[in-house]
């Protein structure tokens, strides 16, 4: 019941978010600030996780395929496709749902509790739009870039692990990277990245904007932003896989 109520409230909220900004310059400044916070602030964690995932994938598949029936260069092929099709977009966005989503929910929720949102409303500012739209635009621009970085670092991690640990030559790994490459998978990765970035931002902003009560409720809203964001990403991942690969 609460889910239906929240969904209705969210849909009713959308026209306010996408209404015409009062001042494009202020929105631009806020968008740039958000791009910096989301992009630079999350780059190190995204690189760390994707690098390790790429390395672990290479090592584990090298172990699985060690029988000699499958050529070694397949490890490069597997690392590439796993990173492009699933890990770069989905794993990065689940991490971002935790890092960026909780920050956004806490930021907007804190503004609600300190009456900053009321103060802006009294000034005549459309707070739904001013507080949410720049975050949406920033995340749609920056998160696909982070996913691209995750892809590059993940494949690099796989390359290092495959050549230094699993005993492949660089030539074999590069052959695997070029083997049966389908650009359609890259398109699917960006479809996922854009969809997930919209999910992360809208869920987090919704939880923060409509928070009521005190610090405990703010903490709960922040947790809900992460949990609901992650669950919605997984559901969307399945739907995109069914639609684009099914």
């Amino acid at each position: 019941m609460q889910l239906i109520k929240d969904l209705g409230q969210f849909i009713a909220w959308l026209p306010d978010i996408f209404s015409k900004p009062e001042n494009w310059g202020m929105y631009y400044k806020e968008t740039v600030r958000q791009m910096y916070d989301i992009g630079i602030g999350s780059m190190s964690i995204v690189m760390l996780i994707s690098g390790f995932i790429g390395a672990v994938t290479a090592i584990q598949f090298s172990y699985q395929l060690s029988g000699g029936f499958i050529p070694d260069y397949y490890i490069g092929y597997i690392v590439r496709d796993i990173m492009i099709i699933e890990m770069a977009a989905t794993l990065t966005c689940i991490v971002l749902a935790g890092k960026v989503g909780s920050t956004m929910a806490a930021e907007i929720g804190g503004m609600r509790q300190k009456e900053h949102i009321d103060a802006m409303e009294i000034m005549g500012v459309n707070t739904s739009s001013y507080l949410v739209l720049p975050k949406l635009i920033a995340s749609v621009i920056v998160i696909p870039l982070l996913v691209t970085i995750a892809l590059i670092v993940g494949i690099s991690g796989g390359y290092i692990a495959a050549t230094y640990v699993a005993g492949l030559t660089p030539v074999e790994f590069e052959k695997g990277l070029r083997f049966l490459f389908d650009p359609y998978n890259v398109v699917m990765m960006y479809v996922k990245a854009i969809t997930f970035s919209l999910i992360i931002t809208s869920v987090a902003c919704f939880q923060g904007y409509f928070v009521s009560g005190g610090s405990i409720e703010l903490g709960q809203a922040s947790t809900r932003a992460v949990v609901f964001g992650s669950i919605n990403i997984l559901i969307a991942d399945l739907i995109i896989a069914l639609l684009l690969m099914g």
Binding site: E115, H116, D118, I122, M123, G124
Partner: protein, 253 residues
């Protein structure tokens, strides 16, 4: 002129405001007074449009604010300045950026014009030279005054203040009262203050409404407060034991 007509507000089954009608005088300092929990803040939030009444109407001149579009509401709000109980200054912005925010959002003034207006507002609240400080670097009284400066930066027609003296020592509270009263007179604006500070009532209350348990218990002017036999008003004025003793001594003499 701001007029509240038969305002009722309920939260679930709890009726917080019960059929309140009151007219706020133009160009005067209007006070909403009452004990904590009397419904003052809810009434003030309904007047500025942050809450919708369950029934009743709020008129700003000839506009019923309950029946206008969001766009019209935003236009009306640009004529309103508000000082919040907790100041509501943006922590990550400096004093100057806080005061400049409404100008940045709604005007096309040049940076020099904005700077001049910020300096004028800071001078008006006697806080020259703190432009680059953050709210956390100044005292509570100074934060209140910055809040007032931000509220008047676009020369509003109406100024709303929610508990402007809360958390301040008596001397600073008097300074804030004088400041608000002075701005009201000098700028010819209509001010509505929500307070339970008796000093404010006696010093700056041109037009007063007393709320008790969500009802309008009394209305009048500051000159009529002491010479009155309204039990709710007397109970409110002489709430402290010290004042009760003074009153009984005066009555016995």
């Amino acid at each position: 002129m701001i007029k509240a007509e038969n305002i009722v507000k309920s939260f679930g089954k709890q009726e917080v405001l019960k059929d309140i009608s009151f007219t706020f005088d133009d160009g005067k300092t209007n006070l909403i007074i009452g004990k904590s929990g009397a419904g003052k803040t809810v009434f003030l939030k309904i007047l500025v449009g942050l809450l919708q009444p369950t029934s009743g109407a709020v008129w700003f001149d000839d506009i019923d604010v309950c029946c206008i579009s969001k766009e019209q509401h935003r236009e009306l709000r640009m004529k309103i300045g508000m000082l919040f109980q907790g100041n509501a200054l943006f922590d990550s912005l400096t004093v100057e950026e806080n005061i400049r925010f409404p100008m940045d959002m709604f005007t096309t003034r040049t940076p020099k014009e904005k700077r001049t207006q910020v300096d004028y507002c800071l001078e008006r609240v006697s806080l020259e030279g703190i432009n680059d400080k953050y709210p956390s670097e100044i005292s509570g009284g100074m934060q209140k005054r910055v809040g007032i400066a931000r509220a008047i930066v676009l020369n509003p027609k109406y100024l709303f203040c929610d508990e402007p003296n809360s958390g301040l020592d008596p001397k600073t509270a008097i300074t804030i009262d004088d400041l608000i009263s002075g701005i009201t007179k000098d700028n010819g604006i209509t001010t509505i203050i929500n307070t339970h500070d008796m000093n404010s009532v006696m010093e700056i209350g041109d037009n007063i409404c007393l709320l008790s348990d969500g009802k309008l218990a009394w209305q009048g002017r500051k000159e009529e407060v002491l010479d009155n036999d309204n039990e709710v008003l007397i109970d409110f004025i002489f709430a402290s034991p010290f004042l009760q003793r003074l009153r009984s001594q005066a009555l016995s003499q």
